[in-house]
């Protein structure tokens, strides 16, 4: 038997049999289908568009297309003063505004080299950790909804509502706070704030357990996420993944520990990393698990901060804010641990202007999403949804 030729990627085979008969075999004709997923699709978390080449339900290739929510953050930054950039950073990662502000402010403060009052540091950490919980709640909730479970989503939003109320109380806004300012915060915490946050912590603990039982332990959920979209640790580092994504791959890397800022060195908390018992290290379930466990760590941090926060009557949180923010010439790359990973700002100042020459935001989602193409290869369409959900993108941050 001798093969004479093939055509159209092996679907037609021409062979010569031993008795000199020539046979032409033809497979069932199949074609790849191009499926445009998004920008309006329920599970692309905003306006991400994935151009999927599919073979039936199997994704041959999924190419992300971004930019539908591009709002020229970096261009804007070159036109406005340093303090006026803060509300724009809110609008990047709108689910974790406090963390974005914190990252930006500590970057500029590095450039300015100013000392922040201790109480302000604690207020910043409390608010940003509250915001981290809120952000993880949305991540978990929307992940549940991606996988078809509606109820955990609403439970998450119910609890997030309390955080939103707390943050509105302290900052005046529910999502886009403009609360953490360069050199301070906008307002001092209200008198009862500590008490209410402590109440929230006691309220939230059992709810988190309930959520864990309802969603994370559910066998269908585990089956949908375990072993899907596995990212080995070295590849994850090469893709510069950060935050829960990198920790999901088993790398114990948390900027709050590894590149400490604010008062984090004083606080006692764990960096949860999956151990491979409940999930396969690096899969969607690990990433989900890291988020679920991180909420508990955030609660711990908040409790410690409430204990340690110095009480000061008539405290002025704006005391050390410079009148005119004009950093000396130089450049800085500052970063903080966002709920979604490392949020970095590269800021260049020329020393003359009150506006940055360059302000690049290294957004965690943008970097994490870059691995989408490699992660989705050969997966089923429902798994693609699970993978996108586990990356936990906020398109505001991806497109900036």
């Amino acid at each position: 038997m001798q093969e004479l030729g093939k055509a159209e990627s092996n679907s037609i085979r021409i062979t010569r049999q031993d008795d000199q008969r020539v046979t032409i075999e033809k497979d069932l004709d199949t074609e790849h289908m191009v499926l445009s997923m998004g920008p309006q699709h329920p599970s692309t978390h905003g306006v991400l568009r994935l151009e999927c080449i599919t073979d039936g339900e199997v994704i041959v290739e999924a190419e992300p297309y971004l930019g539908y929510l591009h709002r020229c953050f970096e261009k804007h930054c070159e036109k406005i003063d340093y303090p006026a950039i803060v509300p724009y950073t809110d609008r990047m990662d709108y689910l974790a505004g406090m963390n974005s502000e914190l990252a930006y402010c500590i970057t500029v403060e590095k450039l300015l080299d100013i000392e922040i009052p201790r109480r302000v540091e604690f207020i910043r950490v409390i608010t940003s950790e509250l915001n981290r919980i809120a952000s993880h709640l949305v991540a978990i909730g929307t992940y549940a909804i991606d996988l078809g479970a509606f109820t955990p989503f609403l439970f998450c939003f119910r609890d997030r509502e309390h955080i939103m109320n707390l943050l509105e109380w302290i900052s005046g806004a529910r999502m886009l706070y403009n609360y953490i300012w360069i050199g301070g915060v906008a307002y001092d915490a209200p008198a009862d704030f500590k008490k209410r946050v402590a109440e929230f912590v006691t309220y939230f603990r059992p709810k988190a357990v309930e959520l864990y039982k309802l969603l994370t332990e559910n066998e269908i959920f585990v089956k949908r996420t375990k072993g899907i979209g596995i990212m080995p640790a070295d590849v994850a580092i090469n893709f510069a993944w950060s935050g829960p994504m990198l920790r999901g791959s088993g790398v114990k890397w948390d900027l709050r520990r590894n590149d400490p800022y604010s008062v984090y060195p004083e606080l006692d908390f764990d960096v949860p990393v999956p151990d491979g018992k409940f999930s396969d290290v690096g899969d969607c379930l690990s990433r989900h698990l890291v988020r679920a466990l991180e909420m508990e760590e955030s609660l711990k941090i908040i409790e410690q901060c409430l204990d340690k926060m110095p009480e000061q009557q008539g405290f002025d949180p704006r005391a050390v804010i410079p009148k005119k923010i004009r950093p000396k010439a130089g450049e800085v790359y500052g970063r903080a641990e966002n709920p979604r990973g490392e949020l970095g700002y590269y800021i260049v100042s020329d020393g003359k202007s009150t506006k940055p020459v360059r302000c690049k935001a290294r957004s965690s989602c943008f970097v994490n999403l870059a691995a989408m193409k490699d992660l989705s290869k050969g997966q089923l369409l429902p798994d693609l949804v699970a993978i996108i959900g586990s990356i936990d993108i906020v398109l505001g941050e991806v497109d900036r």
Binding site: H76, N165, E168, W169, G172, P190, K213, L214, E217, E219
Partner: protein, 214 residues
């Protein structure tokens, strides 16, 4: 084979756990969280039960410095334009006319007792552009800009989102401008005539300040 059965078992138990949780919530639906504001002492009193509110009738009260609609109390505005410069989205438009010395009394004082030196014929806030960041509020020296707890201010016409706060009508503004120009011309003449003598002008007639437009 044992894995097969253990799988079925874990599925059954975890599904049963989940269903128990949802059923508990179903029976808790007789309770309601209520509309306690975050600054109420018993905010976390009712943690189970329904948590949504029927909005127009029930609403969560807004906290003290909640940032909702930007409002300018023009009587206190000294026309320093700091808010206009600070606004990142350029939603504030201000036009000022320097008050002539004889008009200072008519121009009035702020509630803090500061003498106002500017007429503010145009103080427009494009509330459709405003992103309620509150930077303008923080830079305002007389605290005449603040946020009111009005959350619902949608309009059918986007033009209605342009709020006018100026304290002079167009005609009045024109008169003031003319007057200022005349005086400046006169002052320049005097200056040319008498070196740097301070410009002291006679007062023609004071004009009442127009009521602030809402």
């Amino acid at each position: 084979m044992s894995e097969y059965f253990s799988n079925i078992k874990t599925s059954a138990t975890t599904i049963a756990t989940g269903m128990a949780i949802t059923l508990k919530h179903f029976f808790n639906a007789v309770k309601r969280k209520g509309d306690a504001g975050i600054d109420d002492a018993d905010y976390f009193r009712q943690v189970d039960g329904l948590c949504t509110l029927q909005y127009p009738r029930e609403a969560v009260p807004t906290p003290p410095h909640g940032r909702y609609r930007l409002y300018c109390h023009i009587d206190d505005c000294i026309g320093c334009r700091q808010c206009e410069r600070a606004c990142p989205v350029e939603c504030i438009t201000i036009d000022t006319i320097k008050a002539t010395n004889d008009d200072l009394a008519a121009c009035g004082k702020t509630s803090g007792g500061q003498q106002k030196r500017m007429w503010v014929p145009v103080f427009d806030i494009d509330i459709a552009k405003c992103m309620t960041c509150g930077i303008c509020v923080s830079v305002c020296p007389t605290e005449c800009l603040y946020h009111t707890p009005v959350a619902d201010f949608s309009e059918f016409d986007v033009k209605n989102m342009l709020y006018h706060f100026g304290n002079l009508s167009k005609i009045e503004a024109e008169a003031k401008r003319k007057k200022l120009a005349e005086q400046q011309v006169q002052a320049a003449k005097e200056k040319a005539a008498a070196g740097d003598a301070p410009a002291a002008k006679p007062a023609p007639k004071p004009k009442p300040a127009a009521p602030p437009q809402e």
